[in-house]
Symmetry: C2
Subunit: 560 residues, 2 copies
């Protein structure tokens, strides 16, 4: 028996191995580079006491790459699976897959100190992935699954583990919208489809996924699912794990299909949540069925001001618990608010200053900026926006109108480009994130900020530390920190590691989760045991033993 109509089968994705979409040493492509306004640049450099720009970046040709360790026989077997056009080991391909886009990744890329994969392999189907993984397991070759390469936690580090060679498995050839069920609002996609490509295809059917992480321009759906990603609009649309109905999965020792049942009292969700967020250590997501929804009829973005971060957090809690939150609900603390105003573009900057003056007049002197973006069906979203405005006014909020909302939308994917510029100028800049209950939030907020300030001040580089709340749940919210300091030249990674370790220790001690947006990757593994407990870690290991008995999948990630 097969299901009846309502479903549009679409063409399969294929084609030769594509060039990497991003410049090898940083974010995006050169022509996209954005610049920090001079005002913000001066503010940052003065605050941090930056004295010296970073050393210049090496050229691609100057990077010393060891020869590929991939055995000739194994390479032949792999080519037999994916075709010779599906295997690349040229310099550009290897370096472009040598790292994600974390601060330590970028520091190492710029200096040319990278551990590149021995080859990059581009399978075109679930069956090719299955056979590839079997072949690599037999041959003792480690495999690193790769989507958009946007990991900021070391998730795509080409670590060979105990094996002689490591390949990166780039899913760019499995990038199609496979099937669209417009009745059940379900889209079946290849893992390599990028978020913008999927949104473009869905938009032709007046649909959207609504998953917009800051890395949106380059992120893939498979990567988002494998890292349990949260996007900027996740308060409204749900984090990606909430949007996954079903998936197919290929592992070295078997394959799994999680059926897209809308709900069940059986153990399907246990399997689904094991594979979602598995970060490549159990196998490869080869297909995902996602819940989609109608394109919003309205998009109403607006700014609000609160007298303090604490007052804003209280207001956001009320909003969320009254089911009145906006799809995008963000609240910056005092420091982030000040820097946002200074960083706004020229016209936007004038408007921002007007808004600031207006807020100051009403007693919001060192106020906190909130952005609320309501999206959806016109009636429902506007009813909700009206309820939200009443609640926010009652909680002391001051409405700043739509201009700050438009400015935020214009800049929403911009930070990763600015980071490249700050690195050029000798500034350490990184972000990290956690979540906790509303009750514990003020405590966790202070504990992590203090840890970052103390750790970097102790190294003689007092930082700027700022934070926003950007994902609301009835029981709590996320905290997303940005920290900056003058780089310690020659000790960039050690300096970063000191701050990162202090922040992670503080997160665990103060009851937060070790990651809310970015996943575990390589960087958070030392804290996973504290989060899951010994038995929890062993349960994940038991699943790994079953699916990947030789341990070839993404060595060094997720599992401590």
């Amino acid at each position: 028996m097969t299901a009846p109509g309502g479903v549009t089968p679409l063409q399969a994705g294929d084609g030769a191995a594509p060039d990497p979409p991003m410049r090898w040493w940083g974010w995006g492509v050169d022509r996209d580079a954005l610049h920090l306004p001079a005002s913000a640049q001066r503010l940052i450099e003065a605050a941090l006491g930056v004295k010296e720009a970073a050393a210049p970046r090496v050229n691609l040709a100057a990077i010393e790459l060891p020869s590929s360790r991939l055995d000739g026989d194994v390479r032949t077997r792999i080519e037999a699976i994916v075709g010779s056009e599906g295997v690349r080991d040229d310099r550009l391909a290897r370096v472009a897959h040598a790292a994600g886009r974390s601060y330590p990744d970028l520091v190492r890329l710029r200096s040319g100190r990278v551990a590149a994969p021995d080859a990059v392999v581009y399978p075109a189907s679930h069956d090719e992935v299955r056979v590839l993984l079997e072949t690599c397991a037999e041959s003792g070759v480690a495999v690193v699954p790769f989507g958009g390469g946007t990991s900021v936690v070391g998730g795509v580090e080409p670590d060979a583990g105990s094996f002689a060679a490591v390949i990166t498995l780039d899913l760019a050839r499995m990038a199609s919208l496979v099937e669209l069920d417009e009745v059940s609002l379900a889209a079946r996609v290849g893992p390599g489809i990028s978020a913008p490509q999927l949104e473009a295809e869905l938009a032709q059917h007046a649909l959207t996924l609504g998953h917009f992480p800051q890395s949106w321009e380059y992120v893939t759906i498979g990567g988002s699912v494998a890292t349990r990603s949260a996007g900027q609009a996740s308060t409204g649309y749900g984090r990606i794990d909430k949007l996954v109905l079903g998936l197919r999965f290929a592992a070295p020792a078997g394959e799994i299909e999680v059926k897209p049942h809308p709900g069940t009292a059986g153990p399907t969700p246990a399997l689904r949540e094991l594979l979602v967020g598995s970060e490549g250590v159990l196998g490869v997501i080869t297909e995902v069925t996602l819940a989609v929804r109608p394109l919003p009829e309205v998009r109403q973005y607006e700014g609000w001001s609160f007298k303090s971060f604490g007052a804003g957090v209280e207001a956001f809690r009320e909003l969320e618990q009254a089911h009145a939150a906006a799809e995008v609900s963000r609240l910056s603390d005092e420091t982030e608010t000040a820097l946002s105003l200074a960083s706004a573009g020229q016209t936007a900057g004038r408007l921002a200053k007007l808004a600031q003056r207006y807020a100051r007049l009403r007693g919001h002197d060192r106020g906190c900026l909130a952005i609320l973006g309501f999206e959806g069906d016109a009636d429902e979203a506007m009813d909700r926006a009206n309820r939200a405005r009443m609640l926010l006014r009652g909680a002391g909020g001051l409405r700043l109108g739509s201009r700050p909302g438009a400015e935020w939308q214009r800049q929403r994917f911009r930070a990763p480009y600015l980071r490249d510029e700050l690195l050029d100028r000798g500034v350490l800049v990184d972000t990290l994130e956690t979540a906790t209950t509303w009750t514990n939030l003020p405590f966790l907020y202070a504990a992590v900020a203090d840890a970052l300030r103390n750790a970097l001040t102790a190294r003689g580089t007092p930082p700027l530390v700022m934070c926003h709340v950007s994902h609301l749940y009835p029981a709590g919210a996320s905290l997303y920190y940005t920290f900056m300091a003058a780089q310690q030249h020659g000790q960039e990674v050690e300096q970063w590691q000191a701050a990162k370790t202090a922040a992670c220790d503080a997160i665990i001690a103060a009851g937060g989760t070790i990651t809310h947006h970015h996943a575990i990757g390589r960087d958070h593994t030392p804290w996973l045991r504290a989060e899951l407990g010994d038995v929890g870690v062993e349960l994940l290991r038991a699943a790994k033993s079953r699916l990947d008995p030789r341990g070839i999948m993404n060595p060094g990630k997720l599992l401590p």
Copy 2:
């Protein structure tokens, strides 16, 4: 570091082993027994051709119970853990824990053919459970966790598996609201707390959980979580798995704490979903932290009529996908509608007939009844109800006013009592449930109904088969079937098994999930492999090997 204020610690639950809350042979206590109106009784008996009442029930004293096989030394060790008042092996305790409340359970209980546990043990804390499970594993005693005993899928069957003895672990002494965080809207509870007890305690703080399965009067929270239960208001409040923030778990080989992080990009949800819905085969849920919410300001229940089940399903899909569904959203098919009208009480029956006449005048001749119950904040719920009414009218729905809503609320927990009465009268009656995508729903609806009709007609007992939709998701909905036939005396279980097998085969063949409300238990295990695949089943087995290496936990359930 510890979290700051906002949290109310409450007293721990304790006390001696209580008497079973239900009569041993059926639902509730005698004084609650409800009676089917004569009109409905005549309709059913005529439709089914019932000729003979069932054999009379045996008396408790007449049941032949084998002596307890629990070794004296083991019993002494268990008493050392839970106290002598924490172990019962009297006739009432053993028989009351001999079965759940499925149709075959009731048939066997009434005839006295039961396999009772060798003892019933009542631990009072997480630590007592931990030590008990270790002791039982060392001693080779099987353990069946037991909440309200309301399973309708054989989930509490005292099956010793390959062991010499089996104890039932009743969680009635771990029944307190341990801590309430009114800021984060989180309640930490013992697993044995009953749903009504929890609602009563929450109501004192103007809060509610919103989990109302039909078994609500007797169900426990631990049992609901262990079976991934869905309630009558789950379209609005979410099924129980959506309400679990964190939990504690004790297994023979270790313990786990799933922290109540509101959201995370780490693997905590993988652990949580493995333990939620684990049906006692991995260990025992010893504490649950649940998301609660404010008591609704309004409760607006109303009836609607649709010209056909298909038209109603289409309307419900629109409603759900427009985020306008009611907390309770139910749609009966033509047969269930006819029987509901016949079953309504005397006054309600007159009103029902008026409503029927009114609907008939407007062309809803053999119409389908829908119940929509909007609950929540007054503004939000009424805005939503208004949007819903516009949509339902546009989809051909006819509003019947609040009387059918009030009548449904009056009867919402009544069916299990009526089942006892139908059994007395010689009627086979059972329910089963599934879910699928909207696209596939009409196909699955017909396939399962046909399978039930064919299987029972083939045995010479042509059935009444009826169905309702009672849980909506953006991607699909549940289908809940009730079927009745004249009992084949002397072959009651075989007759039931033939119908059940046919329906389950049809569910799998037609793309449904094997269970939406009731869990896997013993009865659905033969179909689990079809749902999860071989590797999926082996992943669950890998978790079981780690947590319960000797296999003492709830033998014969969940895992095929």
